[in-house]
């Protein structure tokens, strides 16, 4: 498949949207494509005193990055530990399996109760959301490290730290990385949802909710498009690293 064949459906989609918008002829239901594009030509312009598109995007990216890093710091070492030592996993598996399917949004009331309205509550929701995919992928990756790889290190009398450092972590690297990729996707969804909560004063989710209240649907859609574009760019970064750093995984037979 050629790269441009990926563009066929999006282009058709945009054309259909514009035709529909023209037929509906009501900007409060569906604005024209141009009115949304116009917002992207002036990304630094303040939107009805709710801040600019760029400014709110940066705030969201900052929030999600911080939450994601906190989740990594918790979930990766914990996952390595649980994957390496069966006894820890037996012990914690029940709790993980129960907590894992709870969507991040379901944590909203509790996070508000614990942290109040604001930054800490948003971060909590992000951390909760992306910890589990990272944790589960890390555990799985560590458990699937080939026994012969570990035994090879043991033959050379590697100590436990060397086994971790030189075998387990690099061998589980691709699985951990794909956990990070999934985790980041969930974190990004969580931040936008969290920003829609009452009491927030910044971020893409905030911009979308507030401009919706003012009937500015073209800004709502522009915010959604920005969420999509940023998500795709982030995912491309994860894919790029996966392709280059972990090339061995797909080539090793």
């Amino acid at each position: 498949m050629k790269w441009y064949s990926k563009l066929v459906l999006p282009v058709l989609f945009i054309v259909a949207w514009d035709i529909a918008a023209t037929l509906i002829n009501n900007a409060f239901v569906l604005p024209r494509v141009v009115s949304v594009l116009a917002i992207f030509t002036t990304p630094f312009e303040d939107m009805f005193s709710f801040g600019s598109l760029a400014e709110n995007s940066i705030i969201s990216i900052y929030r999600v990055s911080l939450g994601f890093i906190i989740a990594c710091v918790i979930a990766v070492p914990l996952g390595i530990l649980l994957g390496r030592y069966q006894i820890f996993e037996d012990f914690s598996d029940g709790l993980i399996q129960i907590l894992r399917p709870i969507p991040p949004i379901a944590w909203v009331p509790l996070s508000l109760a614990w942290f109040g309205i604001g930054f800490a509550a948003i971060e909590f929701i992000i951390v909760i959301g992306c910890t589990f995919p990272i944790l589960v992928n890390t555990i799985d990756g560590v458990k699937r490290v080939k026994k012969s790889w570990i035994e090879t290190a043991m033959i050379y009398r590697a100590n436990e730290w060397q086994v971790m450092n030189k075998v387990i972590v690099p061998a589980a690297g691709p699985a951990i990385w794909s956990g990070l990729r999934v985790g980041f996707g969930i974190a990004w969804m969580s931040v936008v949802a969290a920003e829609m909560l009452p009491g927030t004063t910044q971020g893409l989710g905030y911009l979308i909710m507030q401009t919706y209240g003012w009937g500015q649907i073209q800004v709502v859609i522009a915010g959604m498009v920005a969420i999509g574009i940023i998500g795709v760019l982030m995912d491309l970064f994860f894919q790029f690293v996966q392709k280059h750093k972990f090339r061995w995984e797909s080539l090793d037979k």
């Binding site: 790889w149 033959i155 060397q162 061998a171 690297g173």
Partner: protein, 260 residues
């Protein structure tokens, strides 16, 4: 050929039992074995006879249920520094280059990078891979990968090399070539080698001494000394004669055990 007095490996009354869902399985029973310095010993036997289990116990990756295994007079309770192992396949780290793989044993012993490289290049030259130091394992053929595995085993200069069907996954032609190369490395480095195989042909070509194991429970059926001069000619009458007699023994052992 080189039959000095020093005994590097001594197995005394080694028994290994595994408990499975179907009950206890006796993998090895009362195995006795001595390997002298510089010997090339092949462990030969039908599949399921516990060759690999015995091999792993000598390597310190498994412990016998009863009996003792000694390397250089010391009871084995973990991988010995005097010994190294070469596995059948998949033991090179795919995220490391060939040179980084070969240097693994030195790295684990905290040898500085510069010294490591000198040693690594020497071993790579010995196995004919000096032009592939910066390649990754997946860029090499099966035969080259096993050469790299042999280089990795040699780099820590162990007295004993334990090899578990190292050429089992290779095509016949590559396999013969690797056997020739291994013999020349063995003659050059004076290592003591314990080589697991299920191929009679391979054992007769390589070994000074062939240890034939019986099917489960595995025990030493016969120790067969081969004093054909090297390089051995696979097409010679003597070679064919030994091979025939060993094949006959193995077939009899297998016939006596229908549940393989």
């Amino acid at each position: 050929m080189t039959d000095c007095d020093k005994i590097w490996v001594r197995v005394e009354h080694a028994t290994k039992k595994f408990s499975t869902r179907k009950g206890e399985i006796v993998a090895l029973e009362d195995v006795n074995l001595e390997i002298h310095e510089g010997q090339f010993v092949c462990l030969l036997g039908p599949s399921g006879c516990g060759k690999t289990t015995l091999h792993r116990m000598i390597g310190g990756l498994d412990i016998p249920t009863s009996g003792t295994i000694m390397i250089d007079g010391k009871v084995v309770d973990g991988p010995s520094p005097k010994m190294t192992m070469v596995f059948q396949e998949y033991s090179l780290y795919p995220w490391r280059t060939v040179a980084e793989n070969v240097g693994l044993g030195l790295e684990m012993n905290d040898i500085p990078a510069k010294e490591r490289l000198t040693e690594v290049m020497r071993e790579l030259k010995l196995v004919g891979l000096d032009n592939f130091a910066d390649s990754y394992p997946y860029e090499l053929s099966g035969g080259m990968r096993q050469r790299a595995a042999v280089a990795r085993a040699l780099v820590t200069d162990p007295a004993i090399m334990l090899m578990d069907e190292p050429f089992g996954a290779l095509d016949a032609q590559t396999r013969n070539k690797m056997q020739r190369e291994l013999l020349s490395i063995w003659q050059e480095t004076m290592k003591t080698i314990l080589f697991v195989t299920h191929s009679v042909d391979e054992a007769v070509y390589l070994a000074d001494k062939i240890v034939i194991l019986t099917p489960r429970p595995g025990t030493v059926h016969e120790i067969y000394e081969i004093d054909l001069p090297r390089p051995r000619d696979r097409t010679s009458v003597e070679f064919a004669h030994i091979r025939k007699s060993l094949l006959h023994t193995i077939e009899e052992l297998e016939a006596g055990n229908e549940n393989i």
